[in-house]
Every structure is written in structure tokens, then in C-alpha cells.
Assembly symmetry: C2
Homo-oligomer: 353 residues x 2
């Protein structure tokens, strides 16, 4: 016998609660289990029954309750996406791609956008509560936090981050390689006085990019002045001012830790210093965001292969949701050098190590 859904009046009118599988079962004249099977692919159900049930479901506007099924299957089809700077011109693209790809696999995104890269802990508490199947994190997670993921057996994939000390699956764009390329090409074109505008001190991405650039400069017997920005447009402005002061205006190549600062620096060079870019000053960035391609800038930069990277991140995550014991793996993608007109870049003149 069917149990009647208790919140439903005899009139057939929905009083308050949502439609349940019991309601559908009753209307279709089958058991509740049968209804459940109709919505679970691969269950054995007679086509005729199935049709009757789906019709009833349609009529009542029934949709299975994801909470209830998640409770018993231990699969919520939820993935947490943790992002710090949503307004950073680069992330919307990443977020859109990830969301799209996951949804192709029937997985929804629970979004956590942190104002600062701190307060991660309070956010993680929420992540645990929702029993997400996995997470993609584009922000710094401490070793303790990473261990927490492991302990709870929640697979996590880092995006442009690296599990310091902990072995964690991650997807990265090769910052060091990209910067080395830029430096080599700038040196080949005869630049002498280098300046670097770094990102925020606590940004892993910035650290890597700056390290890549400085190391290569040193290897080739050059040095650079360095100043710190915060990855935004105005940092490019402030950074260039600082470097021009330090170098007494002798700067001829400026390496920015991201495109946004490079764009700010270009505008600043033109307006505040009346410099011609790239004749007087070469400026390079990193990321390959859309505005970098705008004709006012035509930035020379390293474009991150966002498609392939998000693809990899999602693939790696799904694999690990399927089998949490897969070994960690770091996939590094080379960025593509875009030869814009914001910098004089020569083909490599000297044989390189």
C-alpha cells in the first residue's frame, strides 16, 4: 500500500510542501520505489510504467529532491569553487569555463568568493557542511587546510597554485617558463634597464612570475629594479612611477606580473611620462586577458591556455571523485607568447643554455 504524503490535503491541492515521489506514485498508481527508479538511469523499469510515471511527474511538476538523494548516495553532485579575486579580469573566464564543463557532467557549482585570501577557514566549514563531492581552489590553502581535505577524503584540485609541502593535484600555467621567454626576448632586443612590478606579496602566482623573471635576468647577467603592486590597473601606474624614480628615468623594459598592471603602466607611460611604447619603453604582462588584445594596448604577454587548463582541472577532479586514491599529479601548461606591440621583442640572438 502506498503511504500518503502527509502534507497533502484530500483535495489534491498542494498546501505547502513540494511535490514528493509519493505524490507521483499515487497519481501514477505505482509504488514510490518505481518513481525513484524512473529518475535513476540504469534502473530496471518497464517502459510502460516509466511513461506513466513521467507523465504524472510532469503533471505535478515533480523534481527529485537532491538533498534526500545526496543523503543516501553520499554524492551531492556539488563541487565547491573557491576563488579570491572574482573581479580580477582573468577569473570570470575561468569560472565560466569550469561551471560549464562541470554542468556537462551533471555537477553544480557551489561558489565561494572570498574578499581576501584570508578567512578561508570559515568558508571551509561551509564547504564541509554541504558535503561537496570535490573542490577546485584558485587561492592559497595552507598545508593544514589541504590535510583537512585529505582527511575528509574530499578531492581538491588547485588552480594556478601549488600544494606547499603537501602533494596535491594541481593545474598550473608555467610562470617561470613564461617569464624566462619574455626576458630572453627582451634581452635579445637589446634592453638594458629592467624593472619589475610584482603582485601582492602573498600571491603565489606573483611570487613565481617574479622569481622566473629575476632568475633569468640574473642567469644572463642582468638585474632589475622591483616594486610591488596589487594586480590592479592603478598598481601599474604607481609601479611605473616608483620605478622611474628609482632608475632616474633610465628604464627601458618593464615586466609586469599580470596584464592589468601592464595596461596601467602603458597608460601611465604615455600620459605621465610622454613615452612611446615600445620605442622608449617596452612593457610586458602575463595572462592574456581580453583587454590586453584591445588595439590601444596590444600587449606583449603570455597567454594562459584557459580552456585546456580548466579542462584539465575538471578532468582531474572528476577522476578523483571517481577514485579518491589516485595519486596527486601536477599538470603544468606552457603559456603562449603573444607578440603584441607593447614591447620590442627580438628573436633569440644568442645560443641559450
Amino acid at each position: 500500500m502506498e503511504k500518503r504524503s502527509p502534507r497533502r490535503t484530500g483535495t489534491g491541492e498542494n498546501v505547502h510542501s513540494a511535490v514528493t515521489s509519493y505524490d507521483v506514485a499515487q497519481l501514477a498508481g505505482v509504488s514510490q520505489s518505481a518513481v525513484s527508479r524512473c529518475f535513476r538511469p540504469g534502473s530496471s523499469i518497464a517502459p510502460k510504467t516509466r511513461l506513466r510515471v513521467l507523465e504524472a511527474a510532469q503533471q505535478l511538476g515533480y523534481a527529485p529532491n537532491a538533498m534526500a538523494s545526496g543523503l543516501i548516495t553520499r554524492r551531492t553532485n556539488l563541487v565547491a569553487v573557491l576563488i579570491s579575486n572574482l573581479t580580477n579580469l582573468y577569473y570570470p573566464e575561468v569560472l565560466a569555463e569550469i561551471t560549464r564543463r562541470l554542468s556537462d557532467h551533471g555537477i553544480r557549482v557551489l561558489l565561494f568568493a572570498l574578499p581576501a585570501e584570508s578567512e578561508v577557514d570559515s568558508v571551509l566549514d561551509q564547504v564541509w557542511r554541504y558535503r561537496v563531492d570535490g573542490a577546485i581552489a584558485a587561492l592559497r590553502l595552507s598545508p593544514d587546510q589541504l590535510r583537512d581535505f585529505a582527511r575528509r577524503r574530499v578531492p581538491v584540485v588547485l588552480y594556478n597554485r601549488f600544494g606547499e609541502g603537501e602533494a596535491v593535484p594541481s593545474v598550473c600555467c608555467d610562470s617561470v617558463g613564461g617569464e624566462r621567454q619574455l626576458v630572453d626576448r627582451l634581452i635579445a632586443a637589446g634592453h638594458k634597464a629592467f624593472g619589475i612590478i610584482a603582485g601582492p606579496d602573498d600571491s603565489y602566482v606573483s611570487q613565481e612570475r617574479v622569481r622566473g623573471a629575476r632568475e633569468r635576468l640574473e642567469e644572463r647577467g642582468r638585474s632589475a629594479l622591483v616594486t610591488t603592486g596589487s594586480f590592479d590597473y592603478s598598481s601599474g601606474n604607481a609601479g611605473l612611477h616608483a620605478l622611474m624614480a628609482q632608475s632616474q628615468g633610465k628604464l627601458d623594459a618593464l615586466i609586469c606580473a599580470n596584464d592589468l598592471m601592464a595596461i596601467g603602466a602603458i597608460d601611465c607611460a604615455r600620459n605621465d611620462f610622454a613615452l612611446v611604447v615600445p620605442d622608449d619603453l617596452s612593457i610586458v604582462g602575463f595572462d592574456g586577458v581580453a583587454p590586453a588584445m584591445w588595439s590601444s594596448y596590444q600587449l606583449s604577454t603570455i597567454r594562459q591556455p584557459v580552456r585546456r587548463m580548466t579542462q584539465a582541472a575538471v578532468d582531474m577532479l572528476l577522476e578523483r571523485i571517481g577514485d579518491p586514491d589516485l595519486p596527486p599529479e601536477v599538470r603544468t601548461f606552457a603559456g603562449a607568447l603573444i607578440e603584441g606591440s607593447s614591447a620590442r621583442l627580438a628573436a633569440r640572438a644568442e645560443p641559450l643554455p
Copy 2:
């Protein structure tokens, strides 16, 4: 007597499943109900017990299961955010703001980013499954879809959209008013030959903005050439080319349905037509995105009050989650005219109706 969590071995080692309130209860030597109360504010629990429980919870890394509690309370603390063009420079800010504000109220964002404004239906099915407490939609919902929200008693707030026919709570920036302002100021500065680059035909925002501009032009005895773009940078380029051809180069004021197209048009005017902006051609946009303020553009535009709008959207939604029977309400916000240097704008010369 306590029921032992069945998935836990005698060794105290976690085998597979997450920690449950039973585990915490056992460790703390209290009933499972007591544990539950500790995590529900306002429940009566002795401070001493509470402390013991929280300690045990801490030790085990316990976090209440949101699915289970959502199932029984019928509150998931989940809000669906439906967005179409995540890559549109304007939305990241909106999304970040909404997420932040909701999280202040203990509510998480379930993100649905649609590639196109179609396929909404398949996405809504997912929304229903997760029993979200409410939704914020920055895309077009058909009257049928809106009625579905009503039928299921899921409060929804539209963002820069309007419930066509249906009475739906919504938050809008006054497109018509903004465009009228721009038109008035352009006319006052003596512009004669107007062009408009519209957004995609199916975009409500674009329709409103174009309508606002055209109506005002007509009221004041002017007309405009119109071409259609798709809200992106290259549409500005293509749009200007189209309009210059149509007008045989006589255009002196260009109204773009958003900033991105205006920026594209500025670059195009300078590079392809060697025009000086604004001396030869005035260009205005709409939105007030970050790049509009970059010194290469200094766009004259209408800035949407994103903070106040997201605030309003979240407030309205929370109110309606509290009381689904609140009447619909439309809050319209005036945009702020930004007098950049991309257009010659004069103070209003003639008395206006």
C-alpha cells in the same frame, strides 16, 4: 542508549563515511539530540554540556550535514544565481557582491552560468532539485518560467530584467532615464548626426537602452542610425564601420548600448578612421565598468550603482524568503552620469519637458 554510527569500526578509525552527530554524541557521552542542539542557535542546552560537545566535535572534525538538516527544515540556505554572460566585464562585480552579501547571512550561492540565454529550462530543473531558498536571475525568464517559480513558492528577484506580464520583484538600473540624460547632453553640445550600436536583439537591457535613446532623440526632433552588436569589444568596431558606411562618414555622436562596445568603437575610431575622440566623434557607453575609467578611454557613460543594486536584490530576496507572500516590487536605480572625455557633453542649454 546511543545508536552507534554503523559505518564506524570499533577501532575508532574512520572507514569511509563522514563524522556524524552520533559519533560526536558518543565521544561526548551525550545523546545525539544534544549534539544537534549545540549547533542550532536558540536551543536550550546547558553550557557545560555544550562545551563538552563542541570539544568532541572539534576533535572529530564534525560539521553538521547541510543536506540532512535541509531535508527536515526545508531550508537549504542555498540561493541560485542565474547569469548568462559571465564573461561580460560587468557581471563579475555583481556576482562577487551578491555572493559576499548572501554569505553574510549564512547563505551559499549555487551558480548557474548559461552559455546562451536559451537552455534556461534544463537549468531550472536543476534549481528545483536543489530546493534552493530563492534565486536571483540576471537573465530573461519567460512568463511560464516565472509562474513556475511562483507555483513552487521559490522567491526570485530579477536583476536588470523585468517580469514581462508577470509581477515579479526586480532591481533595475534606469536605462531609459540614463539614455535620455546622455542624449540631452549630447544634443546640448550641438551634435547632429547620431548613431546607435545596440546589443543583441534578445537582450532586454539592450532593448531598453536603445528605446530610451531613440525616444528621446525623436522627442527632440532628431533621428539616429542603428546597428546591432553583441555587447563585446569587436561589436564596437564592426558597429562603427557599419554606421560610418551608412552615414557616409557624417556621424558625430555614437551611443553604445554598453561600455565594452563603446571602448571598441573608440579604438576603431582612432585606428581605422583616424578620428579624434571626442572632437570628431563623441562616444558614450553604459554601465561604468572598470576599463571605462582607464585613461586611454575615459568613457562618458552611465554608471550603474552596483553596490546599491546588489544590496537591494539581496534584501528583497531575503525578505521574500522570510515571507513569500510579500507583494512584488520593482526598485529602479538611477545611474550616475560620468563625464569622461570620450564625448563632448554640454550642460543642458534648452529648458526641457
